[in-house]
Amino acid sequence: MSAKPKVAFFDFACCEGCQLQVANMGEELLDILGVIDIVEFREVMSEKWNQKYDVAIIEGSITDSHAVERINKIREKSGVLIAYGSCATIGGVNGMKNNFPIEDIRKYVYGEDAKIYDTVPTRAVHQVVKVDYFVHGCPVYPPEFVKVLKCALMGVSYDVPDHAVCVECKLNENVCMYERGLTCLGPVTKAGCNSWCVNNGNICYGCRGMVTNPNEKGAQDVIARYSISMELILNKMNMYNKCRELDKK
């Protein structure tokens, strides 16, 4: 038996795109595999592990009662638990479900068969069990994942950047989306993605979650200066951040 830490990936309600970001690392992945033992990774492996996990990496949101049970079991068996990707860290796009009454949305999608689908309002992982590390993003930004994994393996903390995406965006010399007449969530969203979307000509959709101490006065100024409707901006925030309503105030 090697003494390498045992790492496992688990997915809940999600698209599995964040797991795929690992496969997309290419040959670098082999370097990572040199220092850890991946003991479960359903997307690419059939192997199973029935002992304790040193590190459990959780992708996806908690959206049904079976998932609640399963995440609790994983938590019990895990030394360190990492919430991986927006669905896990903030509920992500799955949170939009909470914009509708459960019965209504269930019936819309599954009609007569709706009742057989067990579903509860979407929650982020930390809203169900204790989370030790957060890797935000939809999808995760691979360099940040490597950084967090290193911290988890060394047992030191990782501080998620808590300043706005605008900081990175300015360094990247992008033209401000508001100056181009568009509404962008960069000013209230946690940085750490290197302003990925704006670098590619799109707006920020807020996938990394909101900064804990947003500059409210600044945001109000921006909203007033560009005559943006409150409804528009709230609707936008609800695409990824609906579940924050469930955080304890």
């Binding site: 496969a23 290419g26 192997e47 999808p139 989306m177 936008k236």
Partner: protein, 442 residues
């Protein structure tokens, strides 16, 4: 042997679209039960889209699936543009076609190497292969990474593309980007050739079942992936708005996932369906590859879907190179670069309508359908994914296969069933964990 009892319960643990079970029950040599049940752990995408701007549809629906997020984006954009009455430019369409080609390469390579090869080489995953077949693993990861890098250049990233939107692209590749993509693509040629050599040494299980093949068809000479009518090998042809008459979704008592059928009991979509229907339109080098691998339409062995994927890899690689060379010659019209957001400035004219996107994605034809009001707000949405269309066909394959292999051991029967399901590359990428098989009462 003929009086044998077999009870198989394959339970797989979730993924995006949920849980599935393979249940096989043979009593005294007679097949009593043989079904594939998929229960979607629902995420309610269609429900969530209601009330949102049509300009957000691509961003949201690409999150249905991380593996084919470019395919979902392209189907979503096509449906949205159809709904609001927008006609994309020729340049936009060609760039989208190129993007789809890269998606095929990326996805097919993942399936061939990481999901299928371990079965054939007799190991549970690619991990043991790192030691025994290091060069092969490195080649697989290198190919995957390279197609990803090309997508990064074109649309910001492969998983959830950023710059492909309703109307066109928010960022267009610069000349140096075209050069870089072309270099990367050319460099993969030797690795794809090595993959073909590897495929020639792999032995796929023997099994035959004729079925109806469904996919896009067209009257031009282009291998139809991004446009065309819906067609079938039984002679059906339907304009894309009639997609519901093709899929004919119906419920079955044992499964909560809807099944589909057209002219027969079931139909198949995906690489093998496309190969069988549109062989003549493949790139000449792809046809050569098919010949080299001994594939000639019509192929009725579903296990060979993986081989058909490799043929499509060659097609997408060669045509991808040609598209880039054409762009290098013609140049890119940068005035087409767009900033749309939620269309706050009304750069894209919007009218009420009902639009359909029908796009071939790696696993088969994908449909998105949106109904929008005159402000571009989504009223209704519907998505039918390829895997759902294949479920019924997989089940019919299993029903024919099991009686043919009853003389084999438990392990062999299980593996044959697992491999069959995997061959379809079901986009519950849980194809690797479909596979907790329990034999009871033996």
């Amino acid at each position: 042997m003929t009086n044998r009892n077999v009870q198989i319960n394959v339970e797989y643990l979730t993924r995006v679209e949920g849980h599935g079970n393979i249940v096989v029950n043979v009593r005294e040599g007679r097949l009593e039960k043989c079904q594939l049940d998929i229960v979607e752990s629902p995420r309610f995408f269609e429900g969530m889209l209601r009330g949102r701007s049509i300009f957000e549809a691509q961003h949201i629906t690409s999150r249905i699936c991380g593996i084919c997020s470019c395919g979902h984006s392209l189907a979503s954009i096509q449906a949205a543009e159809d709904a609001i009455g927008f006609t994309p430019s020729e340049q936009t369409l060609l760039l989208r076609r190129f993007l789809l080609h890269m998606e095929f390469l990326d996805s097919h390579v993942l399936h061939i190497y990481i999901l299928v090869a371990p079965d054939i080489l007799g190991v549970p995953s690619f991990v043991p292969l790192i030691t025994t077949h290091n060069k092969v693993v490195r080649r697989a990861l290198r190919l995957k990474k390279t197609y990803n890098n090309i997508c990064d250049i074109l649309v910001g990233r492969h998983v959830h593309p950023i710059s492909a939107i309703v109307g066109g692209f928010t960022k267009l590749p610069r000349e140096k980007d075209l050069d870089a993509m072309l270099d990367l693509l050319m460099w993969t040629r030797p690795d794809i050739e090595a993959t073909i050599e590897l495929a020639r040494t792999l032995r796929f299980p023997e099994f035959q079942r004729e079925t109806e093949y469904v996919g896009l068809v067209s009257d031009d000479v282009i291998y139809p992936l991004l446009s065309g009518d819906i067609g079938s090998s039984d002679g059906v042809r339907m304009e894309k708005h009639g997609y519901k008459q093709v899929t004919n979704e119906f419920t079955v008592p044992h499964s909560s996932a809807k099944h589909t059928r057209l002219s027969r009991d079931s139909y198949m979509v995906g690489a093998l369906a496309r190969f069988n229907m549109n062989y003549n339109k493949l790139h000449p080098k792809a046809k050569q590859t098919a010949e080299y691998l001994g594939l000639k339409p019509e192929v009725a062995n579903p296990y060979l879907n993986t081989a058909a994927q490799l043929v499509e890899c060659v097609h997408c690689l060669e045509e991808g190179i040609e598209i880039l060379e054409e762009f290098k010659k013609k140049g890119i019209k940068y005035e087409e670069e767009l900033a749309v957001g939620l269309n706050e400035k009304g750069v894209i004219p919007v009218k009420a309508g009902n639009g359909v996107g029908a796009v071939e994605v790696p696993r088969g034809v994908l449909f998105h359908n949106y109904e929008v009001d005159d402000k571009g707000i989504i009223q209704n949405a519907n998505c039918i994914i390829p895997t759902n269309q294949n479920l019924n066909n997989i089940e019919h394959d299993m029903k024919k296969l099991v009686p043919e292999i009853l003389n084999k051991t438990d392990e062999e029967i299980t593996l044959a069933l697992e491999m069959l399901v995997r061959a379809y590359d079901p986009c519950i990428s849980c194809s690797t964990h479909f596979l907790n098989v329990r034999f009871v009462n033996r």
